[in-house]
């Protein structure tokens, strides 16, 4: 049935003619009727993206965001009926989308929102209790940590967490001074609530190393070499407290 291919093509391409074997009522013209499907496809997918990136949509305004999303949908329609997975490439698209260049941090805010979405739907796991680490004490040299499956890192040259927090806030816009430095975000859902935290210097390198399977000393060494002020004790305590660690053991 090549009908389906022609139907699908005409759906996605607003310039394409409606196939002549598509009919309206009593064999009549179907141009206007067919456009209902066209609108449904685009509007519903743009709605999915607007719902997935609500803070980004607020930052640039709904009209701009939806126009940009429509172009993304045309270029990259979903490849799965599981729409929970749709939109993973949208931030990269926006990073290379010339009309968005006046808002250079937009793509990073979108990466943060995508991480939030991923954490929300990720697998569940029980964080280890605070005391677990102490029990390991003397053998910490070979300690490897299993991090929570919801854990995601977003590293940015912009103060992405601050921008995200401010934009998410409703009400009057009071003037604020944004930090000059970039921020790294830890996104985590230890139970049912997604939490977003700013990481201290070296924190992201440390967590990334742990995620890649490095032992505790190896991860600490990598973090220290990237940021001399990296504080292992504080970073580890922070991870523990936030519920980011779900397992620990001696690495082989």
């Amino acid at each position: 049935m090549d009908n389906e291919a022609a139907f699908a093509r005409a759906l996605l391409d607003a310039e394409a003619a409606v196939p002549e074997w598509i009919e309206g009522r009593d064999g009549g013209g179907a141009e206007r009727r067919f456009s209902v499907y066209r609108n449904n496809v685009y509007a519903s997918l743009v709605d999915v993206l607007a719902g997935r990136f609500p803070v980004s949509a607020k930052l640039v305004g709904d009209v701009f965001f939806r126009a940009m999303a429509r172009i993304y949908v045309a270029k990259t329609p979903p490849d799965s009926a599981v729409l929970l997975r749709y939109g993973g490439g949208f931030a990269d698209f926006v990073a290379g989308f010339p009309p968005a260049t006046p808002v250079p941090y937009l793509a990073d805010v979108m990466r943060l929102e995508w991480a939030w979405h991923g954490a929300y739907h990720s697998a569940d796991a029980e964080p280890l209790p605070q005391e677990a680490l102490a029990a390991f004490g003397p053998r910490a040299e070979r300690l490897a940590l299993t991090l929570h499956p919801s854990l995601r890192l977003v590293r940015s040259d912009y103060p992405v967490v601050t921008i995200w927090e401010l934009a998410a806030r409703d009400g009057e816009d009071e003037p604020v001074r944004l930090p000059a430095e970039g921020e790294d975000a830890l996104v985590l859902r230890p139970a049912l609530e997604v939490e977003v935290r700013r990481l201290p210097e070296g924190g992201a390198v440390f967590i990334q190393a742990l995620q890649d399977g490095a032992t505790l000393p190896e991860a600490a060494a990598r973090a220290s070499s990237s940021s001399p002020t990296f504080d292992l004790v504080a970073s580890l305590a922070g991870l523990m407290r936030s519920g980011a660690i779900v397992g620990m053991g001696e690495s082989a």
Partner: protein, 291 residues
């Protein structure tokens, strides 16, 4: 965290049910409303974990459940997505829904998912294809499925049989049940110019296991003829309730879902519609008892 629990088979009762929406999770658990059952869109629960599964498990522990797929593309020309089928099976195994349904429509072409329920021509060729797909679903799911009648805005020149003839043939060949969407019948009749009561008369009511009621929007086509849009964005229209009362005479009391997927109101709005379905079923039972 997600210990496996057995919910057991709790049959979906012949009462009003409601399409489950995240914005109502808390209210449902806190207020334990007297609603007959819930239906979920399967694809919304195909994430690995998190609040959707936690809330669904809690609600499933208290109410019967119906699993409604929107993405299988049973009316598509290509093969079914095997990975999607196994995701559906996993959901059904986990939540033990008493009903499982999908649409007479297609929604994917090749690797592209179009996120709409698209119409197909009714021919011998598409009939064979749909029946093969339903056989495959039956094998994969190990439970019977219900096929839902569609609402459509266009027709195909090559169509050789009526929608009801097509559905009858599918039921005959595959043994599947039917989900009668009464709003879709109303929309279909207005959009293609036939009498919805004639459609109901011809519909094989003895195979209907579930009814859908949803809202539609009113528009016109280029020739000024009415064009109703099945938008699930408002209350069920009065003439659809009338058609529903007629459908009950043919099907008998049957699980009836209120579908409200866009501009979703506060819980009370949906609950009121479910109670209206309960009242219609009660009125039907009463009329049956009259000599």
């Amino acid at each position: 965290m997600a210990a496996s629990v057995s919910f057991g088979t709790s049959p979906v009762p012949p009462r009003g049910g409601v399409g489950l929406k995240p914005e109502h999770y808390r209210t449902i658990l806190d207020s334990a409303p007297d609603v007959g059952w819930f239906e979920i869109h399967a694809e919304n629960y195909m994430g690995e974990g998190g609040p959707p599964h936690a809330y669904l498990a809690a609600i499933r522990a208290r109410y019967p459940l119906s699993l409604h797929g929107v993405g299988l593309s049973i009316g598509g020309a290509g093969p079914l997505d095997k990975a999607h089928l196994s995701r559906l099976r996993a959901l059904a195994d986990r939540y033990e829904p008493a009903l499982f349904s999908e649409h007479l429509a297609w929604s994917s072409h090749g690797s592209v998912y179009l996120n709409d329920l698209l119409p197909l021509p009714y021919t011998d060729e598409t009939l064979t294809c749909v029946c093969d797909h339903i056989d495959e679903v039956h094998d994969a799911m190990a439970r019977p499925m219900l096929l839902e009648n569609p609402s459509t805005y266009v027709a195909y020149a090559e169509t050789t049989m009526s929608e009801v003839e097509f559905l009858r043939a599918v039921v005959h060949r595959t043994g599947c049940g039917l989900l009668l969407d009464v709003n879709n019948v109303f929309v279909q009749a207005a959009n293609h110019g036939f009498d919805p009561f004639d459609y109901l008369d011809a519909f094989p009511a003895e195979h209907v296991r579930e009814i859908h009621l949803g809202g539609h929007a009113e528009d016109e086509d280029a020739g000024g003829a009415p064009l109703l849009i099945d938008d699930h964005g408002r209350e069920v229209a009065d003439p659809v309730w009338t058609l529903y009362a007629e459908a009950l005479k043919k099907t008998g009391p049957i699980p009836t879902l209120i579908e409200w997927d866009n501009d979703v109101p506060a819980w009370e709005g949906l609950f009121a519609e479910a109670k209206r379905a309960d009242a219609a079923i009660a009125a039907f039972r009463k009329s049956e008892m009259r000599p």
